[in-house]
Amino acid sequence: MGEKTDVWQGTLALMVLRTLESMGPQHGYGLARRIEQTSGDRLQLNYGTLYPALLKLEQEGFILSNWGLSDNNRHAKFYELTKAGQSRVKKAAAEWEQTTAILARFLAPAEDA
C-alpha cells in the first residue's frame, strides 16, 4: 500500500511543482482545479489528497506558503516555488521523461523491437 501511495504522491508532487512553475503562486483549490484541467479532466482528483502532498513539499523546502487574497477577495493560502523547488522541477521532469521513454519502448508494438 505504501509503495502505491509513494508513486502516486511522487507524480502528484511533480504535477504540483510543475503547475506552480508555469502559473506562479497559487492556492490549493486553484492548484487542484488546474491539475484537473491540465489532465483534460481525465484525472479524478480527490482534492483532499492535495494538502498532505503540499505539506510534504513544504516540509522538504521545495515550496513555501503565505496567506493572501484570491481573485474573489477570499482569504487563501498561496503556495510558491522556492529555489530548491525550481531546480527540483527540472530534475524530476527530466527523470520522469526518461522513465516514460524507457517504459514506452517496452510497451511499443513487438515488431519494433
Binding site: G30, Y47, G48, T49, Y51, L55, K56, Q59, E60, K77
Partner: protein, 878 residues
C-alpha cells in the same frame, strides 16, 4: 538531506501542535468557500454548491486526518501516549513502582559500579602510545622470576638491544613534600630521562627531562596532574618554580597530562625524578643493587619472539661478563598488557556475581510484573475487545517495563556514583593517595543503557507476551484463573524464592558473625586510651642531616614548647606510635641473667619502643608496678627499662620484677616498672614481651611528638605545628590523629563487616521482594477460591492465616536450607573471626528470626488484600 529537514520540521510541529491545526482548518474552509463560489457561479444553489465542494474534497475529516499524519510523526505520538499512559499506571501503584524501581536500581547500580571498576582496572586504554608494543623485562633466577634489574645491567641492555626502540627504568619511592608548615608523603617514580618519550606522553605544561648525556645542573621534577590540582590548586605558573621534597629544592619542569598516573593502576605516581638526581653514580654502577623495573617498546616490525631471543642472548653475555652478580640469571620479556590482565579473573568473578544479582533482581521484578499483570487481565481483555491490536498492546506493556528500567537505571547510576565515591573511604587509610581512577564516562553510560535494555528483555518480555495472549472471551467470561497454565512457572519461581531466602540467611548469618567479631575487636583493650584526643606529629630531623645528639636537643625543645601550649594536657615523645603502620620489627636482642631462654638461646629479639616520662600518662597505658621514666633517666645515668606485663609473666612468673636486670643489645638495664600490654602492630596480635626504654637513652634521628589535647584539636594542631616550625622549620612533619590510627587498625575488620552486611541487606531485600511476588501472584490466582471459602463461612482471619501460612511456609523451608548451608559455609569464615565461634547460636538464631520476620512482612500485604476480598464480588466477576 531533504528527508532529514522534513523530519525535524515534523518533530518540531509535534511540540507546537495546536496552532497549525487551526491554520489548516482555515485553509480548508477557504478551499471549500472558493469551490462553493464557483458552484454558485455555475448556477447551483448555495447549499448544493457547498455539498459538491465537500464531496470533491473527499471529506473534511479524512483530509484533516491525512494532513495530521503527514504533519507530525504519528509513531512518536503513539510512543508519547504510551509513555504517558505508562506513567499514569505506574503512579497509580506507587508501592509496586517504588519496589520494582528500587530492585532494578540495586541490580543496575551494582553492575555499573563493578563495570566502572573493571574498566578502570583492565579495560581503559593504557595511558601510553600504542600500549600493545610495550614489554616488561623479567629475569629468571633460581629463586624464581624477578622484575627488578640493576641500573648497570639496564644500561648494557639498552645499548645493545636492537629489537627494542626504547627502554627505560623506574623505581617507586616515597618523598616528603612540604606544603606550608606540614609535610606529606608523596609517591615518586625515579626514572631514566627517556621514561616519558618511550611511553609517548606529552606534558600539558613545561617540558619533560632532557635525555642528553649530561645530568641536569639542578634537580628537576615532573608532577602529576592530580598532585598539581590537589596541592598546588592548578597554579599555571608552577612550572619553573621550586618545591621542597625531603628537604631538597626541586625545580618543577613539567606537569604530566591529566589521566596519566604512572604505571601502577592502584597506586598512582605523584611525581617523577630522574635517576641521576636520586642515586650517586657508584650506587648505579653496582650490579647487585637491583632496584629498577625495566620497560621497553618493541621496534615497529619486531615480534615479541625476536625480542625475547635477542634479550636471552644479551642476558647470557651479561652473566658471562659479570658472574659475581648475574650468574644464573637469564633475561626475558612479557607483554606489559598481558601482565596487567592478570587482574582479569577476580574482576570477571565479580562481574559474574553482580550479573547474577541483576538476574535475581530481574526475576523478582518479573514476578512483580506478573503478579500485577494477572490482576490486569480484565483491563487487557477489555482493550482487546475494544479493538486494540495485540502488537500495540505488547508495545504498551513493554513501554511500561522500559519506563521502570529507565527510572531504575537513572537511580542505579546515582547509586553507582555513590558507591564509587566511597572508594576513598573504603581504601585503607594511608599517607599517600591510593585507589583507581574511577569516573563515569561514555562507555559506562553505554554499558548501563545496555544493561537496562537487557533487563527489560528479561523481566518485561515474558509478562508482555503472556498478557497480550490473554484469551479475550474466556477472560471476560471469567474463566481466566488458568491454574494449570501457571503451574510450572509456579514451581520454578518457588525454587527461585527458596534459593533467595536461603542465600539471605547465609549472608545474614555471616554478617552477624562478622559484626559480632568487629564489636569484640573494638572492645579489646589496646593498652592505651582511644577516647583521648591524641595527635601525633611524626618528625624526622635525620632528613635535615641531624645526628642523634642534635636530634635529642631538637626533640627536647619541641616537647617543651608543645607542653607549654594552652589546651595541652600532656606532651610526650616516642620513637614509634602504637598500632601505626611503621613496620614493627624494631627489636633488641635481650638476654636475661638467671632465666633460661627457649631452646637454650643466649639471647632473643624483643620488640621495644623508646618513650619519655610523659608517654604513659599521655596515651593512657596503665602502670602496674614500679615507676615511669623521669628526667633523671638520661644518657649520663644508669640504663633503665620498663617491661610489659606479658614479659613479666613470661620470664619472672610470680616474682618481684622491679629492680632486676636484663641485658639489651649488650647493655645492662635495670627494670624500673611494669606496664599493661599494648597492641604494637595489630589489634588481633597475641600479646608478646615488649620493652620501653627512656627516649633520652635511645638517641634517634626520628620520633613522634604526641599531644593529648583538651578539646578542639584542630586549632591546637595548627598552633603546635607553628611551634615546631619555630624550633626548626626544615624538619619535615606529618600529622596523624588517634582516629586515623583507629581507622587504619580496624580497616580490614570494618571492610569485612560492611561488605558482608551490605550483601546481607541486599539478599534479604531481594528475598522479600521475591516472596512478595510469589505470594501476591498466588493470591490473585486464588481469588475465586478465596471467595468460595469465604462464602462457605471462612472468616477473614482464616484467609489471612491461609495466605500468611503459604508465605511463611516458603520462608521456613528457605530458612532451614539457609541454616544448613550456613553451618557448612561459616567454617570458611573462621580465620576472619575474633571472639566469636563460627557456630555462634546468636548469629544463626538472629538471621533466622530476621528472615522469618521479613517474610511475614512481605506476605502480610498480599494477605491483607486476600482477606479484603468481597466474596460476592469475587464470585460474580470471576
Amino acid at each position: 538531506m531533504r528527508k532529514l529537514r522534513a523530519f525535524w520540521i515534523r518533530l518540531l510541529d509535534l511540540i507546537g501542535a495546536r496552532r497549525n491545526e487551526d491554520d489548516f482548518a482555515a485553509e480548508l474552509e477557504s478551499h471549500v468557500e472558493m469551490h462553493t463560489d464557483d458552484g454558485i457561479r455555475a448556477g447551483l444553489t448555495p447549499e448544493e454548491a457547498r455539498r459538491q465542494a465537500l464531496i470533491a474534497l473527499g471529506g473534511a475529516e479524512q483530509t484533516r486526518q491525512a494532513f495530521r499524519e503527514r504533519r507530525t510523526l504519528p509513531w512518536l505520538e503513539t510512543l508519547w501516549q504510551d509513555i504517558r499512559f505508562g506513567l499514569r499506571i505506574l503512579c497509580k501503584n506507587p508501592g509496586y513502582t517504588a519496589v520494582a524501581v528500587l530492585t532494578l536500581a540495586l541490580g543496575i547500580g551494582a553492575n555499573t559500579a563493578v563495570f566502572t571498576v573493571a574498566q578502570a582496572a583492565l579495560l581503559r586504554s593504557w595511558p601510553a602510545k600504542e600500549p600493545s608494543r610495550l614489554v616488561r623485562l623479567i629475569a629468571a633466577t633460581p629463586q624464581g622470576e624477578e622484575i627488578n634489574f640493576s641500573y648497570a645491567d639496564y644500561r648494557d641492555l639498552a645499548e645493545q638491544t636492537k629489537s627494542l626502540e626504547g627502554i627505560f627504568v623506574y623505581n617507586r619511592r616515597v618523598k616528603m613534600l612540604r606544603v606550608g608548615a606540614e609535610s606529606r608523603a608523596v609517591l615518586d617514580d625515579v626514572v631514566s630521562p627517556n621514561y616519558f618519550s618511550v611511553l609517548g606522553i606529552t606534558a600539558q605544561a613545561g617540558r619533560f627531562f632532557t635525555t642528553g648525556p649530561q645530568p641536569p645542573s639542578e634537580p628537576g621534577v615532573v608532577i602529576s596532574d592530580s598532585l598539581w590540582h590537589r596541592v598546588f590548586n592548578a597554579d599555571p605558573s608552577l612550572v619553573g618554580k621550586q618545591i621542597w621534597l625531603t628537604n631538597q629544592a626541586f625545580t618543577v619542569l613539567a606537569v604530566a597530562p591529566p589521566g596519566f598516573r604512572g604505571l601502577e593502576r592502584m597506586v598512582p605516581t605523584d611525581l617523577w625524578i630522574p635517576v641521576a638526581t636520586e642515586y650517586p653514580s657508584q650506587e648505579l654502577a653496582d650490579r647487585k643493587n637491583r632496584e629498577f623495573e625495566v620497560l621497553g617498546r618493541l621496534r615497529p616490525g619486531a615480534t615479541t619472539e625476536e625480542a625475547r631471543a635477542e634479550l636471552d642472548s644479551l642476558g647470557r653475555s651479561l652473566a658471562q661478563s659479570y658472574p659475581a652478580a648475574d650468574k644464573a640469571r637469564s633475561v626475558s620479556l612479557i607483554s606489559e598488557r598481558e601482565r596487567l590482565r592478570e587482574g582479569m579473573i577476580p574482576t570477571l568473578i565479580l562481574m559474574t556475581a553482580v550479573g547474577l544479582v541483576l538476574l535475581i533482581c530481574c526475576a523478582n521484578v518479573a514476578g512483580l510484573v506478573l503478579a500485577r499483570s494477572d490482576a490486569r487481565r480484565k483491563e487487557v481483555a477489555m482493550r482487546l475487545a475494544l479493538g486494540a491490536g495485540r502488537l500495540r498492546l505488547m508495545r504498551q506493556l513493554l513501554t511500561e517495563s522500559l519506563l521502570l528500567a529507565s527510572v531504575g537505571s537513572a537511580l542505579g547510576l546515582l547509586l553507582a556514583v555513590g558507591l564509587l565515591r566511597l572508594q576513598p573511604v573504603l581504601m585503607i587509610p594511608a599517607e599517600v593517595e591510593v585507589g583507581l581512577d574511577l569516573h563515569l564516562d561514555a562507555s559506562v553510560l553505554m554499558f548501563t543503557a545496555a544493561v537496562a535494555i537487557l533487563s527489560v528483555l528479561i523481566f518485561g518480555l515474558a509478562p508482555a507476551i503472556q498478557l497480550s495472549k490473554t484469551s479475550l472471551v474466556s477472560t471476560l467470561k471469567g474463566e481466566g484463573t488458568g491454574a494449570a497454565k501457571g503451574l510450572r512457572r509456579w514451581t520454578l519461581r518457588n525454587a527461585l524464592v527458596l534459593g533467595e531466602i536461603a542465600l539471605s540467611v547465609v549472608l545474614l548469618t555471616a554478617s552477624g558473625l562478622v559484626v559480632r567479631s568487629l564489636l569484640y575487636s573494638r572492645s579489646l583493650p589496646l593498652g592505651f586510651d582511644r577516647q583521648r584526643q591524641l595527635i601525633f606529629f611524626d618528625l624526622i630531623p635525620g632528613i635535615v642531616g641531624y645526628h642523634s645528639e642534635r636530634s635529642a636537643v631538637f626533640f627536647e625543645q619541641v616537647q617543651e614548647k608543645a607542653a607549654a601550649l594552652p589546651g595541652v594536657r600532656h606532651a610526650a615523645l616516642a620513637r614509634r606510635v602504637l598500632l601505626s603502620d611503621s613496620g614493627g620489627g624494631m627489636s633488641q636482642r635481650v638476654s636475661i641473667p638467671g632465666v633460661e631462654l627457649p631452646q637454650g638461646q643466649l639471647s632473643i629479639p624483643i620488640k621495644f619502643d623508646a618513650v619519655d616520662g610523659n608517654y604513659f600518662r599521655a596515651v593512657g597505658t596503665r602502670l602496674m608496678q614500679g615507676r615511669e621514666f623521669n628526667s633523671g633517666d638520661n644518657p649520663s645515668t644508669a640504663r633503665v627499662v620498663v617491661v610489659s606485663q606479658t614479659m613479666e609473666e613470661r620470664f619472672w612468673p610470680g616474682q618481684e620484677v622491679v629492680g632486676r636486670q636484663i641485658v639489651a643489645n649488650g647493655t645492662a638495664c635495670q627494670i624500673v616498672g611494669v606496664v599493661e600490654d599494648a597492641k604494637v602492630n595489630s589489634v588481633h596480635e597475641t600479646p608478646e614481651p615488649y620493652m620501653y626504654f627512656p627516649f633520652a637513652q635511645q638517641p634517634s634521628a626520628e620520633g613522634t611528638l604526641i599531644i593529648e589535647a583538651d578539646g578542639n584539636s584542630k586549632a591546637l594542631t595548627a598552633r603546635a605545628l607553628s611551634e615546631i616550625q619555630r624550633v626548626d622549620r626544615n624538619v619535615p612533619v606529618t600529622v596523624r590523629t588517634v582516629n586515623y590510627l583507629m581507622q587504619q587498625a580496624f580497616w580490614a575488620d570494618q571492610m569485612a563487616a560492611g561488605f558482608v552486611a551490605a550483601l546481607g541487606a541486599l539478599g534479604i531485600f531481594l528475598g522479600a521482594i521475591g516472596l512478595y511476588g510469589v505470594v501476591a501472584f498466588t493470591v490473585s490466582r486464588r481469588n475465586r477460591e478465596i471467595g468460595i471459602r469465604m462464602a462457605l463461612g471462612a472468616e477473614r482471619k482464616d484467609v489471612l492465616r491461609l495466605v500468611l501460612g503459604h508465605g511463611l511456609g516458603l520462608a521456613a523451608i528457605g530458612t532451614a536450607i539457609g541454616l544448613l548451608a550456613s553451618f557448612a559455609a561459616m567454617r570458611l569464615l573462621a580465620t576472619m573471626l575474633y571472639g566469636v565461634r563460627p557456630t555462634d547460636p546468636l548469629a544463626f538464631a538472629g538471621s533466622a528470626i530476621l528472615v522469618v520476620f521479613v517474610a511475614l512482612a512481605a506476605s502480610w500485604i498480599p494477605a491483607r488484600r486476600a482477606a479484603a476480598v468481597d466474596p460476592m464480588q469475587s464470585l460474580r466477576t470471576e
